[in-house]
């Protein structure tokens, strides 16, 4: 280090002696002269088709001792069945995590990470990939794993379950980031919510996916003739070709050619769509409509248009929205064309809530301007120079070249498309830009998506003169344990229900015993999934027949008491007493309907219907709209489970299930000492009843006393 410094100083000293730098004026950047750029050598990609149909693309790169490969497979989530959106994604995940015929995914994890290698799989919108990466010395071993993952994946059930859990969790989080919401909703609205390009995964669609679906999806699309395999790295082409040919010789499965991807069937969706999110200080805006494809004749002109409009520091939107107005940090416009289907013309920005409407106005103005007057010649020249002078960066790594060849072949583009594009850009005139803008940008069909807090938007969005619609971001409720099928109420079902209920009454101690119960006091310990581990709540529930109810819960920070007579009620917390709000009152009414002792006597109540649609089950409902299905234990005749619909904290109705266990005698009646409450297939709460006091003479006056 020191030596280098001394030499540097010496050199500096020498230079100074020869040419004092102070005397040399700094040229203007405009006056700099540049030598010709060295021509870049674009290597030829060696292509072969193996006997089984796999198309190989090979390129040598000896700079580093690495080998990387990627198989491109014609498939995509565009091929999801509409009722199973997420199938392709899941298949892409499980191909790797589910292991191979001989090894579990966990075993592959250890094997690969031990040698710092990776094999990964995934399925995107319009392609599937299986890739590998390793140090040169491990090539054979990793090719083996890669081959097995691609040709004989295990697709094991436990990893399908894990993938479902992960995907469900990601659904639950999809409304946390406003930028993601804006992008997603814009795509969805412009392409059409019910089309393959606009629909999204939901809990319900995931629930319908089972292993046979995954296997079928894999088998349909993963076959040799449908695979393009690109490999780059420190090897010789002849050697690698031979290796791959040998390795994949055993993969001979055939399938019919894959159908074309579904076409885009989008209809214009003009207007403003607002998704309310109150925990943000900005409005996240996306504006635009359907765009075009890369091979459109006007694509070069449209790309220049979008670049001038919003393609970076130099652009009109950047200058105005960010630099002049200070409205935003990020603002952009893009004509994002796709290879084989229309992309999106999209302007976007995020700005403090108060400037939301003003920013949309600027978007509209700039769109109008670029459609009605020619861009300045400096603007167009500048844009062309950007493309021309940075063109070399399309080829600066061998991987880019390889990936490009693969992509062009995959989508049926000519191999020299990038050069056609370059020539196209060169030829664009100011008239072309304006004409293309007029023909392809249509202000009348603009879709505007705004995510944020509309109350803080300053000037209301409605002042923009476009219809304003609310987007409901609510995530449709997860599909839960089978909902009770609608009860059959024909005479035969009622007869069966009555008989079964009589049997239950007998098993529980007799109908008369049950009818003699006038009050019940339950003391129980409660633990809930949402509570801190180790935290327990004690509760005392008192029921005075027929419809008086009091619940006292002892929590670490204090006591909560709820009382109701079925018509109204109150709630007391350490903060004070207040009337029972309607949702809680409704819940109490549902509780009262299901009180064990009276529920089992439902055949004696005029306003209740008792029937049995399926063997071993009893459906009970009343005029007020309450209903419950009891599943009866065939051996004991006692209720094993209760299934009913209930309002969730999220405000959505959901299916709940209570499982009864450890029946014991109390006052001549068999009662469950353990009740597990499940929601959506997962344990929600556990109650252990430590004491049942029956007929202790409690009166309504006693339980309605406020603390």
């Amino acid at each position: 280090m020191r030596r280098t410094l001394t030499i540097a100083l010496l050199l500096a000293g020498t230079l100074r002696a020869q040419a004092p730098s102070a005397a040399v004026a700094i040229p203007s950047y405009k006056d700099l002269k540049y030598p010709q750029l060295k021509p870049i050598k674009i290597p030829d990609v060696a292509t072969f088709t193996l006997p089984n149909g796999i198309r190989l693309y090979l390129l040598e790169n000896h700079e580093l001792p690495l080998v990387r490969g990627s198989a491109l497979v014609r498939t995509g989530n565009l091929f999801d069945p509409a009722d199973k959106v997420g199938l392709a994604t899941m298949t892409g995940m499980v191909m790797r995590t589910g292991g191979t015929k001989d090894k579990s995914g966990d075993q592959l994890d250890v094997q690969l990470e031990n040698i710092a290698a990776s094999v990964e799989t995934g399925i995107d919108e319009s392609f599937g990939t299986a890739s590998f990466s390793c140090l040169k010395e491990n090539t054979d071993e990793v090719l083996g794993v890669f081959h097995d993952v691609l040709t004989t994946p295990g697709l094991r059930q436990d990893k399908i379950d894990l993938a479902k859990t992960e995907l469900r969790s990601s659904i639950s989080r999809r409304n946390d980031e406003p930028h993601a919401i804006a992008e997603r909703e814009f795509d969805s609205i412009v392409y059409g919510k019910d089309t393959p390009y606009g629909w999204q995964m939901e809990y319900a669609t995931l629930d319908r996916i089972a292993r046979p679906d995954v296997v079928q999806f894999y088998e349909r699309y993963f076959f040799p003739a449908n695979v393009m395999l690109a490999v780059i790295g420190d090897f010789s082409i002849t050697e690698m070709k031979a290796k791959l040919e040998n390795r994949f010789a055993d993969w001979t499965v055939k399938q019919p050619p894959v159908p074309p991807f579904p076409p885009v069937t989008a209809k214009p969706a003009p207007g403003i769509f607002v998704a309310t999110k109150t925990d943000v200080t900005q409005a996240f805006l996306t504006l635009g409509h359907l765009g075009g494809e890369l091979r459109d004749k006007d694509f070069p002109a449209l790309e220049e248009m979008a670049d001038i409009l919003g393609g970076g520091f130099h652009s009109r939107l950047f200058q105005r929205v960010r630099t002049q107005l200070g409205y935003a940090y990020d603002v952009s416009a893009a004509w994002a064309a796709n290879y084989d289907h229309p992309g999106l013309f999209e302007l976007s920005s995020s700005t403090k809530s108060a400037s939301a409407t003003a920013t949309i106005k600027v978007f509209q103005q700039e769109i109008e301007k670029i459609r009605t007057s020619e861009v300045a010649s400096e603007e167009l020249e500048s844009a062309k120079q950007r493309v021309a002078n940075s063109f070399v960066f399309n080829f600066d790594t061998l991987s880019k070249t390889l990936n490009r060849v693969l992509r062009y072949d995959y989508y049926g583009y000519p191999r020299d498309f990038i050069h056609q594009y370059q020539r196209g850009i060169e030829a664009v005139t100011r008239q072309d830009v304006m004409r293309a803008a007029r023909e392809r940008v249509n202000p009348k069909i603009l879709t505007v998506v705004a995510v944020g807090n509309p109350e803080e938007f300053g000037t209301p969005l409605a002042t923009l003169g476009l219809p304003v619609t609310s987007i409901d971001l609510t995530i449709p409720e997860p599909a839960s344990a089978p909902k009770p099928a609608p009860a059959k109420t024909d005479a035969a079902s009622i007869e069966r229900g009555k008989k079964l209920l009589e049997r239950v009454q007998q098993a529980a101690g007799g109908a008369d015993q049950l009818a003699a119960v006038k009050d019940v006091t339950e003391t129980l310990n409660l633990s809930m999934a949402t509570m801190a581990p180790g935290m327990k709540v004690t509760q005392t529930n008192i029921w005075v027949a027929p419809d008086q109810f009091r619940q006292e819960s002892q929590l670490p920070f204090g006591k909560i008491v709820v009382y109701s007579d079925g018509k109204s009620g109150w709630m007391s917390t350490p903060q004070g007493i207040r009337p029972l709000p309607p949702p809680q009152l409704q819940q109490v009414r549902e509780e009262l309907f299901r009180i064990y002792f009276s529920l089992l006597l439902s055949d004696r109540m005029a306003d209740r219907t008792v029937s049995s649609s399926e063997p071993g089950t009893i459906d009970i409902s009343d005029q007020a709209g309450n209903s419950v299905r009891l599943i009866i234990d065939g051996k004991t005749g006692l209720p094993a489970k209760e299934v009913y619909a209930s309002q969730q904290p999220t405000g959505q109705p959901g299916s709940m299930e209570e499982v009864f266990d450890e029946f014991e005698q109390a006052g001549g009646i068999k009662v469950p000492k353990k009740i597990t409450v499940n929601q959506a297939g997962k344990t929600f709460a556990e109650m252990t009843i430590t004491e049942y006091k029956i007929n202790s003479g409690i009166k309504n006056e006693d339980i309605s006393k406020k603390p």
Partner: protein, 512 residues
């Protein structure tokens, strides 16, 4: 000798040779020199394609923001794109006068504001109007965004800059025939920066803050964690600064920051690609020697006092739950620094990380869970960070409990040889993967030089990792993963009150 151990030794031998090979091979292609003013250059030749990447690494970041002026380092970074006396202006002499006029009016405004309750609102309104007019007048001389536009027009790609706590970095790539442009522009931007459009840029930075922090539940939680973990040290805040500080920044603040920190001896430049080192040297002399040498800036002397008990912070949020946990740890110069990296990989690396296997794969209580060995930065004592995203139906509490158990186990059971070997192999391979990017290399070389005094540490740090033993891992885990120096932060959703079974904001997770 059992098979795994044998493989371990063989591989180490092979990879040691490989590393030596790489370093020697690299050294042949690296030219380093320091100008008289202290500016240091590292030039690496890589002639695969006629392109060059440039990386300017300034050894100053948000930790250097003065109290009450947080966000200043980041603000200056924005200013560095505004041009010079010759770039970005239609008429510099007039613009210079107009910019001085803005400051004069703003000074008068502040004088009136400082009167507090005795300030005259009418006077303030009038001066604010004057200020607006003065700003508009100065803006009329501006050619907006000319500096970055010149770069883009000349084929520049990947242009950006970033301010972190420990550093500020500027980078872009150019076609190889235009290297002289970089020398001209980069030297001018740090020799004659002009703070034009400063007050408008404050608004832009505010929007950036709103976007990156205020509207992002995870970033908000991380800010909360940092403020709780660090009482005194500037690592307590994220780089963008406090909103009220940003909105009070003045041009003279940025000028002072620039004079103090943007001194040649505090800057290192990496140039990687199809470059001729002799030509680079000549151009450095032509353009960069005119930057005057100035004394090195002060080093942060505030030391975070010892943490003597666990800390907890919570944020009520409509978002899905998320939790971060930080354990205090020493800076990157500590002899155990490589051990922390190994620990991080053992616990959270890939699909074999202990946390991944237990919480994501087996128990499925987490959607994602991981760790970061140095957070938020590494030059000063910092945090070993864990983060968990509970999966649907699970809570931060059950995630935290599982993590706690894993850490206890990790402290009690020494790591096996296979896992340790795996981490070392991955570390070595990951470096090899980073060697094929000009811009990545430029960043690596300058960063290691600034932080450790020698770019060769990019390679020799692998040897430090190789020396880590199972005993080291256990010792470090036992010493640092202790509750007294732990800070936890999580967000919780508001619970509707009056639910049948739990009338409690269930996620308070109160610790008994």
């Amino acid at each position: 000798m059992s098979r795994p151990a044998k493989l371990h030794l063989l591989f180490l031998l092979a990879s040691c040779l490989a590393a030596a090979q790489d370093l020697k091979e690299f050294e042949k292609r690296v030219t380093e020199f320091t100008l008289a003013n202290g500016l240091h250059f590292i030039v690496l030749e890589r002639h695969q394609a006629p392109v060059v990447s440039f990386h300017t690494y300034v050894n100053a970041g948000s930790v250097d923001d003065p109290e009450g002026k947080t966000g200043l380092a980041h603000m200056f970074e924005h200013m560095a794109f505004k041009g010079t006396e010759t770039i970005g202006t239609k008429n510099w002499p007039e613009e210079k006068k107009a910019l001085a006029a803005i400051e004069e009016v703003y000074d008068r405004l502040e004088q009136e504001q400082r009167k507090g309750p005795r300030a005259d609102p009418a006077k303030i309104a009038a001066i604010e109007e004057e200020l607006k007019a003065a700003i508009e007048k100065a803006n009329s001389y501006v050619i907006p965004n000319q500096f970055p536009t010149i770069i883009e027009e000349n084929g520049g790609v990947g242009m950006n800059a970033g301010t972190s706590l420990d550093s500020t970095e500027y980078f872009y790539n150019l076609p190889a025939n235009r290297v002289e442009l970089w020398f001209l522009l980069e030297s001018q931007r740090f020799l004659h920066p002009v703070f034009r459009e400063f007050y408008k840029e404050r608004d832009v930075v505010m929007e950036e803050r709103r976007m990156r922090l205020e509207s992002d539940p995870q970033q908000k939680l991380i800010q909360c964690l940092l403020s709780s973990a660090f009482e005194a040290h500037p690592y307590r805040r994220l780089s963008v600064g406090w909103a009220s500080d940003i909105q009070s920044l003045r041009v003279r603040d940025a000028e002072q920051f620039y004079k103090t920190y943007y001194v040649p001896a505090n800057i290192t430049i990496g140039i990687v690609g199809d470059v001729d080192p002799k030509q680079a040297r000549a151009l450095a002399d032509k353009y960069f020697t005119r930057l005057p040498a100035r004394p090195l800036p002060p080093i942060i002397h505030t030391v975070e006092p010892p943490q003597e008990g666990p800390r907890l912070a919570q944020i009520q949020s409509a978002s899905q739950p998320f939790e971060v946990i930080g354990y205090k740890r020493p800076d990157q110069y500590d002899k155990d620094d490589p051990v922390f990296d190994v620990v991080s990989s053992l616990l959270a690396g890939g699909r074999t990380g202990i946390i991944y296997k237990d919480m994501v794969r087996d128990k499925q209580i987490s959607l994602a869970a991981g760790a970061s060995a140095s957070f938020p930065a590494a030059k000063y004592p910092n945090l070993f960070l864990f983060y968990v995203f509970p999966s649907l139906g699970h809570t931060v509490q059950d995630n935290e409990q599982a993590l706690s158990q894993l850490l206890e186990q990790f402290k009690n059971e020494k790591v096996d040889a296979e896992s340790l070997a795996r981490v070392k192999t991955k570390t070595r391979a990951s470096l090899i993967h980073r060697l094929d990017s000009n811009s990545g290399l430029a960043e690596l070389l300058t960063s290691f030089y600034v932080n450790y005094g020698d770019w060769r540490k990019v390679f020799t740090s692998l040897d430090d990792v190789d020396k880590v033993t199972a005993d080291d891992v256990q010792r470090v885990a036992r010493k640092y993963f202790v509750s007294n120096t732990r800070t936890t932060a999580f967000d919780f959703q508001p619970q509707p009150v009056g639910e049948k079974h739990a009338q409690t904001p269930a996620q308070t997770g109160e610790k008994q």
